[in-house]
């Protein structure tokens, strides 16, 4: 067996700091795609309740200490940080942990930076804590969740990690430059 080097998706790329806003990699966690089998959505919801979660409505996340489940598309959600074994037989479960780069953008300029890249209104009044969306980060597919008043969790395909860091980093720099001009 070859000795392989374990690397996270954003290894060597993050953190990236611009003023008080920080883009950082989220700690590694188990990510499982959950797609309910036909007619099993209710039973799946009950099984998730047992885990302290629930089946998320479109655009919503359900979270508890350490674990969360994020709506991620039509009849699909991502279970993060929990063992999916209790859902066996109720939904198609596939491990996605190595397939996505998960990062956090947090700080006063997070919204302004994302406004340059994402075709959504991400202001707190429109996109509140606990809401999630599938959309584009410039040209990349993205799953975004608001986790606090100034914080977002962002997931992109792992192969796009460097591009995503570059895009968000450039937007952060541009927002900071504009801030220096107008202050």
């Amino acid at each position: 067996m070859a000795s392989l080097i374990e690397k996270s998706a954003c290894d060597g790329l993050l953190p990236r700091v611009a003023g008080g806003t920080v883009l950082s990699e989220l700690p590694a966690a188990r990510v499982t795609s959950v797609a309910p089998f036909a007619g099993k959505t209710r039973a799946l919801g009950a099984a998730l309740k047992e885990m302290g979660l629930g089946w998320p409505k479109p655009g919503e996340a359900v979270g508890t200490e350490g674990a969360s489940i994020l709506w991620s598309g039509r009849d699909q959600a991502f279970l993060i940080g929990a063992d999916p074994a209790p859902l066996s037989g109720l939904a198609a479960l596939s491990d996605q942990g190595d397939g996505w780069a998960r990062m956090q953008l947090k700080g006063p300029e997070a919204e302004a930076a994302l406004a340059r890249l994402v075709p959504l209104d991400l202001r707190l009044s429109e996109f509140g804590i606990g809401q999630v969306a599938r959309s584009g980060l410039n040209h990349m597919m993205m799953l975004i969740a608001r986790t606090s008043e100034t914080g977002f969790d962002i997931m992109v395909f792992r192969s796009m990690a460097a591009s995503a860091v570059h895009e968000i980093g450039t937007a952060l720099d541009a927002v900071a430059a504009r801030g220096r001009l107008t202050s």
Binding site: P58, G73, R74, L120, A133, R134, S135, G136, M141
Partner: protein
């Protein structure tokens, strides 16, 4: 142009891929006559008025959406998930 995804809400056009007239989802039954397949693959109406199209929410929730819009006014009057349609019609089935 903005399209209201039944799951995601009003979204920018850039998130969607256009796939043509919605009759493309009405695939002929197995064993249908060649004329029916020819019609299905190649013949499309081109009305000045209301049409229904297929759009794929590629940069979003990955749902197929049937969009009713007007080619004269460009107004979008309705959107729904393709999965919410009644069973698609099978044309030209040989019983």
């Amino acid at each position: 142009m903005r399209i209201t995804c039944p799951l995601c809400g009003a979204r920018d056009r850039r998130e969607f891929t256009y796939y043509g007239a919605s009759v493309y989802a009405d695939r002929p039954a197995e064993g249908a006559a060649p004329e029916v397949w020819d019609d299905y693959l190649h013949l499309r109406d081109n009305p000045a008025g209301e049409i229904t199209d297929l759009w794929y929410h590629e940069l979003g929730c990955s749902a197929w959406i049937e969009v009713t819009r007007n080619t004269v006014t460009h107004a979008i009057s309705a959107t729904r998930l393709l999965a919410d349609r009644a069973t698609p019609t099978k044309k030209g089935a040989r019983s």
